[in-house]
């Protein structure tokens, strides 16, 4: 078995290596520590970051906008599987919105396999599926006077009683609702639903300081730095004692 020999050179190398590693960590600790000492002076507890990188570190995901319609001057949109009425979440549906209209003091949103009816306040009245008699494979939704129209499997269907009963229509209906963009301000408001204000800079700096930002790995990293500090101290004492001897 090979004998491990502790030489002056190896102790010096350990001292040098652990010294550099601890030094880098202390610079990080000092900078974040100074900021944390002055969080109130710098207003860090009132400032928030919504940087995608920071949000990803906190496992906060931000689904992208899928479809949006503007109905009665109000935005109806889908982000991920969440449907919004302005910036209020009203329903979950993984299928695309194919149309949205306002009829008889009621909002109607059509998906490929169902139609959802809402009050003016955005409360769900009912979701109608094929079991309730609505056609499947809905492609478009529109309204004219007091009637609802849908296009499904290249056929036009008509309902005069708020979607309760549907009959085939021979009318050449063209007033389908179409997708419309919504303002950046509205998108920002909706994104607040997923991320809130974001992460406060105080929290971010604190988690950077104590290593929590990298979850469990932070704990192990701090353990490693503690071991380096021990090695640095022991090797330092050893070198000092050797110098005194000569």
């Amino acid at each position: 078995m090979k004998k491990i020999r502790i030489t002056k050179k190896s102790i010096n190398q350990i001292h040098k290596f652990t010294g550099i590693a601890v030094c880098i960590f202390l610079i990080h600790l000092s900078i974040t520590g100074i900021f944390l000492n002055h969080t109130e002076d710098l207003g860090l507890d009132e400032k928030y970051t919504s940087s995608p990188l920071v949000l990803a570190l906190y496992n906060i995901s931000m689904p992208s906008k899928k479809e949006s319609f503007v109905v009665n001057n109000l935005a109806v949109s889908r982000f991920g599987n969440q449907i919004f009425f302005e910036d209020q979440p009203i329903l979950k549906n993984e299928n695309p919105i194919v149309g949205a209209v306002f009829i008889n003091q009621m909002y109607v949103i059509a998906f490929s396999e169902e139609i959802s009816l809402f009050t003016e306040e955005g409360e769900l009245i009912e979701s109608l599926t094929s079991a309730s008699g609505i056609p499947t494979n809905i492609e478009k939704l529109g309204n004219l006077d007091d009637s609802l129209y849908i296009k499904a499997d290249n056929q036009t269907w008509l309902s005069k009683d708020q979607g309760q009963e549907w009959i085939l229509s021979s009318r050449d209906f063209e007033a389908w609702s179409i997708e419309d963009s919504i303002s950046e301000e509205k998108i920002k408001q909706i994104k607040m639903y997923f991320s809130g204000k974001g992460v406060s800079l105080e929290q971010f700096l604190l988690d950077l300081h104590n290593g929590n930002i990298i979850k469990n790995a932070g704990k192990w990293l701090l353990d490693l730095i503690a071991i380096f500090l021990l090695l640095l101290s022991i090797s330092g004492i050893w070198i000092w004692l050797r110098r005194r001897r000569y």
Partner: protein, 170 residues
Amino acid sequence: MLSLIWMMLITLLLASSLHARGVYQTDKDFLAEVYDNSPPKSKSIMLLGDLRKSVEKILGHPYASLRIRYWKEDGKTAWILEEIGKTEPITFGVVIKDSKIEDIRVLAFREIRGWEVKYPAFTKQFIGAKLDEMKLDRNIDGISGATLSVWAMTSIAELSLFLDEHLKNK
């Protein structure tokens, strides 16, 4: 070799949990099965006033919609109802006959965990259950790891029995 076996096991576990999510039976197929391929026309019930309050009391929160649809024929009432498990709605199909549950099943499951409530070995506990002061007349044994789904199914069983009684007293 060992790492390959581990990878295969993990893949199998992930695949089984993903497979558990989805539509087990469409609303249309459920009704076709309940009413021998000729389901009656649907009717609806509006949750207003005291009825809305009672429904809220059973679920512990308001029902997702203001109107609930049901199908009634041959003394049987079929309900398609939704309740949140943990974060996503679970769709249940319930059949009531003579104020007792004749059938209850999961039609669509969207959560990652808790799908075990779909098994007949679990749902058979509900068969024949009646309402006793707004609660089921029996205890339902839970499933480890599926507590929220079990609670959701129990609430929906109570709700459908309550709504059925409401229709009779109307």
